[in-house]
Symmetry: C2
Subunit: 388 residues, 2 copies
């Protein structure tokens, strides 16, 4: 299958592109290298030494004989280049990771809020408008977020995208309907994913675009089978307070003897998935495209849920690291339950990787190996959700 991977230089996009290439798909990467630009802007960088895009592609060619072409295009800005690319390549499917993906970054200040809104919505909308204007029948697989559901309000096992509701109607019979699960995002970033859902619903309804939206939990892990094959293929490992995800940060903190920083009570429940499952889920979604006329397919791309404090205790027990409670920079409930349906991926099709000591050790070893690259000043999460 011919597949364009938008955002194929990022933490999920890069290993997904390689995994799809390894499975025999004809993969092309499109990226504007914005994640590397933001690294420079924040004066932070991946703990692991990530190679240039040229070197990454050369390495993949060296180990597999396959070339994955790369196009440097900002799809949020350059609609003509995007349209030309789609018209020339005529992909069967596109995978859309080309969005700013950090909630703390999206709350840093007005410039970062505005960038996140404009970049993410224009990227998604340009892609949909270009597919329609080029007349492609192309399956769009998009990386959404569990954060669209919100953390404060569920009181139910959250379904996969659609909620069946009952409301009083005009007749004696109440109205019963499937609706998009009511969005309740807790950051600007997550809000853009909820707004993306409205773009998908409209283009699916009006133009018949076939779309799969994957509401992913917090990713942990770094390497996949493919990124391990050459040092130049190594994946990003973000440990900083803006882009680092919680479990990876704990493991890195343990590796360098820094207390595990738990925000607030730590009784916030979050959903997790290993990066190797991320790439498997993307492949699965591509193999199970919706048919013409189907509504938007929505999957919850999560393996398990945990309280943040329980994760910290687990890592502490494993490593002897101390735990430090710090004030939460976020504006969200200090404690929440979170339970998610994930049958479409993990009910029968796949077996998820769950928190496994061996895999955690692998990450901690990786963190130890590159500990010299760590700038301890970058560890605290400084962006606050509200000004004081």
């Amino acid at each position: 299958m011919k597949i364009l991977v938008f955002g194929g230089d990022g933490f999920c996009g890069w290993p997904a592109a390689l995994h799809l290439s390894a499975r025999g798909h004809d993969v092309t990467i499109v990226d504007n290298l914005s994640r590397r630009r933001i690294d420079r802007e924040l004066d932070s960088q991946s703990l692991t030494p990530i190679a240039s895009m040229d070197d990454r592609i050369a390495a993949w060619r060296d180990v597999t004989g396959t070339t994955v072409p790369f196009h440097n295009i900002d799809i949020a800005q350059d609609f003509d280049a995007l349209t030309d690319l789609l018209a020339t390549q005529r992909p069967h499917a596109v995978v859309h990771f080309a969005e700013q993906r950090s909630a703390p970054y999206s709350m840093l200040g007005p410039a970062e809020k505005r960038y996140t809104v404009s970049n993410n919505l224009n990227a998604t909308h340009n892609l949909l408008a270009a597919i329609v204007s080029t007349g492609l029948d192309c399956h769009v697989v998009h990386l959404g977020s569990i954060g669209v559901y919100g953390y404060g309000t569920a009181r139910m096992k959250i379904p996969e995208g659609y909620l069946n509701i009952t409301a009083a109607g005009d007749s004696e019979e109440p109205v019963n309907r499937d609706i998009l699960y009511p969005a309740d995002p807790d950051s600007i970033y997550h809000m853009t994913k909820a707004q993306d859902q409205l773009l998908f619903t409209f283009y699916n309804k009006n133009d018949g675009v076939r779309i799969t939206d994957l509401h992913q939990g917090i990713v942990w892990g770094t390497q996949t089978e493919e990124t391990k094959r050459d040092i130049r293929l190594i994946n990003r490992f973000d440990y900083d307070g803006v882009y680092g995800t919680v479990l990876n940060r704990f493991l890195m903190q343990a590796a360098i003897g820094y207390p595990l920083s738990v925000h607030g009570s730590g009784r916030q429940t979050r959903a997790f998935i290993h990066i190797r499952d991320t790439v498997r889920c993307i492949a699965h979604a591509l193999d199970h495209a919706p048919e013409q006329g189907d509504r938007v397919s929505i999957y919850n791309q999560v393996a398990e849920t945990h309280r943040v404090l329980d994760l910290a205790n687990m890592v502490s027990t494993m490593t002897g690291a101390d735990i430090e409670h710090v004030p939460s920079p976020r504006n969200e409930p200090d404690e929440n339950e979170l339970s998610l349906t994930n049958d479409q991926f993990f009910g029968h099709a796949l077996q998820p990787i769950t928190l496994d000591q061996g895999l955690m050790e692998e990450i901690r070893n990786l963190a130890s190996t590159y500990a010299a690259n760590c700038n301890r000043d970058k560890i605290p999460s400084t962006p606050t959700w509200r000004s004081a």
Copy 2:
């Protein structure tokens, strides 16, 4: 009250600015004159001869002694100018009309789709981000649209913004909750208004911004008490197939002896409000600002609902005009019911202007007076929702 009116040169924004000024508020208009630019782009123009902004302001000063300052700022693009203006003026309230407001325009092609999404979402988001970054406690009144609810799916009297639903929960007791009425927009334009709702919900929840969102029906009429006071104050009258609203188009068609063009069956039900009620509702909303801590206030700003064919018959009876059914360019149900709650405005506070013959006559006279300005080629509605 010190009020900034964003989009104060437009069809609703201009008469609203004058009405608020007439009521003694300290009004400043902010606009990038984009509606005049789009007139040139489409080679169409208002049937009524609209004066330049300088002449409009001079006329209002001549008849009232009051100056309404005007700032030419594109708030979707120039965040610094917007922030400076808010920081300098420190308004008590802002009225936000600064969005591309035609559904057919938003469906013309990829450029117009992209402009509508980027302009509308960045305008709304910049305004909210600027209010937060300047630390203003400022009431935001926004013109939304009944179109966020959609036309195909209600089977109920649509409430004002929030729907009480029941869904299966974790315990035996079902979950009962107020949610934003599930959006089901039928055009890119209406979709942006649904996406705006998510912006409002987030900024209200995270930053405590006080917001009123007015879901308005199709506006008819042209003049208000204020715009009638001087020929240079006259309001826009759009009759073209892109910006003209249905009832005004029928009246103009009758005035020039052009058959009333009904799209499809004409059994589509739509909601209507007179422009004089629009400006009264805006004033009412400003006088009834939500308190700190309140959720977003949502009103249905509509007076009545009618089937399009019934309107055509009404105008035909009045004028003898023929009715012509033309294929609908839209992708929407050919027939729908529409019933809307509007108690907050019209339950007790105000009495709406309904389609009575006297007012119809007034518009017909206006259309007749300026019939010579009409370019008949611009009457058909050419933008189609899907390419053939």
